[in-house]
């Protein structure tokens, strides 16, 4: 029997100098473990990776070197220790991978391009496509092309994919599933980019967990305030009830109806980056109904899980969101209500986080 010790070294791994991202199929489970840790915490050390994964120091060393060569991770800034040489943390390389996220909202569609640490490099807002079945999706394709063109040529090979955030609106006449399936296959066919689809609220919560204020939070309740109010429960960084279609009609659409009934202007509700006029008592009443609904959900969930933080994401102006958070905190004093920070469009950024989680993280 030949002595395998003296066979040629296994060339499968790493020390090649290929540029671009490894194909999905060869991304090993262990590499995904390391990238999951980094996407969750932003910065780590080889010691911590070893402790969290149970892998030996030498295996971790090979893995990290491989990811460094691939350009996905980099050495962070050296931290001077009390004794001995400085510790050099391992961080994600912002330029290591890019992703495009598309979210179709009730009034418009957002497209973002984000880098590996979640910074938006490109953002465009498009009117929603006509519901006409014969419409092709050329406006999306064009915008995706523009987003890709933003990237320097070398970085284009590092596009992890396109994430589509899919709304489930029961009341809406359109067949979103079919619409998005068509869009998915069209993008994959025409642009040759992998497409990943998820419910839009779940995507927004994932984006908040990966890149936003919820990064350090293992357990929290996530509210998305859009036309309606949606909730998601995140336990141990995992989002539960991912495709729930339950939502509450206490969102911007409800406010719009109230305002319209009073003859007040409603256009600012849907305008981007616009402050709202003084809506007076109508706004106050709506905020109360909204926060009451949120508190009912919170109380219901707290029968089963103890949690201390609520994250609110919305396209509503910041002062409105702050006021909602304050109301929540005053009604439930032990609760911390914080604002999401995955602007410019939480759902689109969340959609863009999908290709990262699908390609780089463990399930």
């Amino acid at each position: 029997m030949p002595d395998m010790r003296f066979a040629p070294p296994n060339p499968l791994r790493i020390a090649d100098r290929a540029s671009g991202l490894n194909a999905v199929s060869v991304r090993s489970y262990n590499e995904r473990l390391v990238l999951s840790l980094l996407l969750q915490s932003g910065s780590t050390t080889r010691l911590e990776i070893g402790e969290r994964t149970g892998l030996s120091a030498q295996t971790v060393s090979v893995l990290v070197r491989s990811l460094e060569q691939e350009g996905l991770v980099a050495k962070g800034e050296a931290q001077k220790g009390r004794v001995g040489p400085p510790t050099v943390p391992i961080v994600l390389n912002a330029e290591g991978a890019f992703s495009i996220g598309i979210s179709v909202g009730s009034h418009q569609t957002d497209v973002v391009l984000i880098d590996f640490v979640g910074t938006a490099r490109f953002h465009a807002t498009l009117p929603n496509p006509a519901t006409d079945r014969s419409t092709n999706h050329s406006e999306f394709l064009q915008t995706i092309r523009e987003a890709v063109a933003m990237l320097p040529k070398k970085a284009r090979e590092r596009l992890a994919g396109v994430g589509l955030a899919l709304p489930h609106r029961a009341a809406d006449g359109r067949d979103h599933e079919a619409y998005f399936a068509a869009l998915q296959s069209e993008i994959e066919e025409q642009l040759g980019i992998a497409v990943f689809v998820q419910n839009d609220i779940t995507a927004a919560a994932s984006g908040e967990s990966m890149f936003g204020v919820a990064k350090p939070l293992a357990d929290y309740l996530y509210f998305y305030l859009g036309a309606r109010l949606h909730g998601r429960l995140v336990l141990n960084h995992q989002i539960h009830n991912g495709n729930s279609t339950v939502s509450f009609d206490v969102g911007l659409a409800a406010l719009e109806r109230t305002l319209a009934g009073e003859g007040q202007a409603t256009a600012p509700l849907w305008a981007r980056d616009a402050a709202w006029p003084d809506y007076g008592a109508a706004l106050e009443g709506w905020e109360d109904r909204l926060t009451d609904e949120m508190i009912q959900s919170l109380i219901a969930v707290s029968q089963f899980v103890e949690f201390t933080t609520v994250v609110l994401a919305s396209r509503a102006p910041r002062d409105i969101c702050d006021s909602i958070c304050r109301k929540l905190s005053s009604k439930l004093p032990r609760l911390k209500a914080i604002l999401g920070e995955t602007g410019p469009s939480p759902k689109a950024v969340g959609a863009a986080s999908l290709p990262f989680s699908s390609r780089f993280m463990v399930d």
Binding site: R46, L47, Q58, V62, R65, G84, P85
Partner: protein
């Protein structure tokens, strides 16, 4: 208290570029000394650098004592338990008398790694951490050593890649000394004080990065 063994050739011994075999930098100036100072009092650094040491070859000219494989066994056993073994060898394998391509030199490094794993000289009979360090490539002009190392400078540029492939497939740590230090033009293949300094500090960071509880 942790212990690291620095197993190498003249560039671990601290031979002065352009000097004679007996010309050696003082301990504080050699990279193991720099390493010791940077790691601090938690670490004991053992130097095992011999001029002319090969990975696995008895040297037909310089003698069997230059064989890095036969000496490794008693050496490691006498210093056990060892937390870490740093191996920086390979340059001498490029002497014309051995006719070795870079991949074969890497095989020699692989042998040493296998031998260490078999000996398991780590704490409580475990396999210690092993770090393969690729030596900085030789310069094109190696003065009156050109004949002895005929074809060597060219091959030396390939050692880092071949060593890394070996380190990856055997799952051990790897560092490319050429990324922080270069050989001195006085003889084209020895490290001067600046290179020792840079290498010692870089290796201290690498040692730290392994992560020790």
């Amino acid at each position: 208290m942790r212990t690291v063994l620095c197993y190498g050739d003249s560039n671990t011994h601290g031979q002065i570029p352009g000097g004679l075999t007996l010309d050696r930098y003082g301990f504080e100036a050699r990279w193991p000394g720099i390493l010791a100072q940077a790691l601090g009092s938690d670490w004991r650094v053992i130097e095992e650098g011999l001029s002319g040491r090969t990975t696995v070859h008895d040297d037909p000219v310089e003698g069997a004592g230059k064989n890095g494989r036969t000496y490794l066994r008693p050496c490691v056993m006498s210093h056990a338990p060892l937390d870490l073994i740093i191996i920086m060898l390979g340059t001498n394998d490029l002497k014309a008398r051995f006719h070795q391509p870079p991949s074969e030199v890497a095989m020699g490094i692989g042998c040493l790694v296998h031998d260490i794993k078999e000996l398991a000289p780590g704490p409580r009979g475990s396999i210690p951490e092993i770090m393969v360090v690729a030596p900085p490539p030789m310069l094109d002009d190696i003065k009156n050593w050109a004949g002895i190392f005929k074809g060597g400078p060219e091959k030396s540029h390939e050692l880092a890649l071949q060593f890394e492939i070996t380190a990856d497939s055997l799952e051990v740590h790897f560092f490319d000394a050429g990324s922080v230090a270069a050989c001195d033009p006085l003889d084209g293949f020895h490290l001067n004080q600046h290179a020792h300094q840079a290498l010692g500090l870089a290796l201290a960071r690498e040692v730290e990065a392994i992560g020790w509880k």
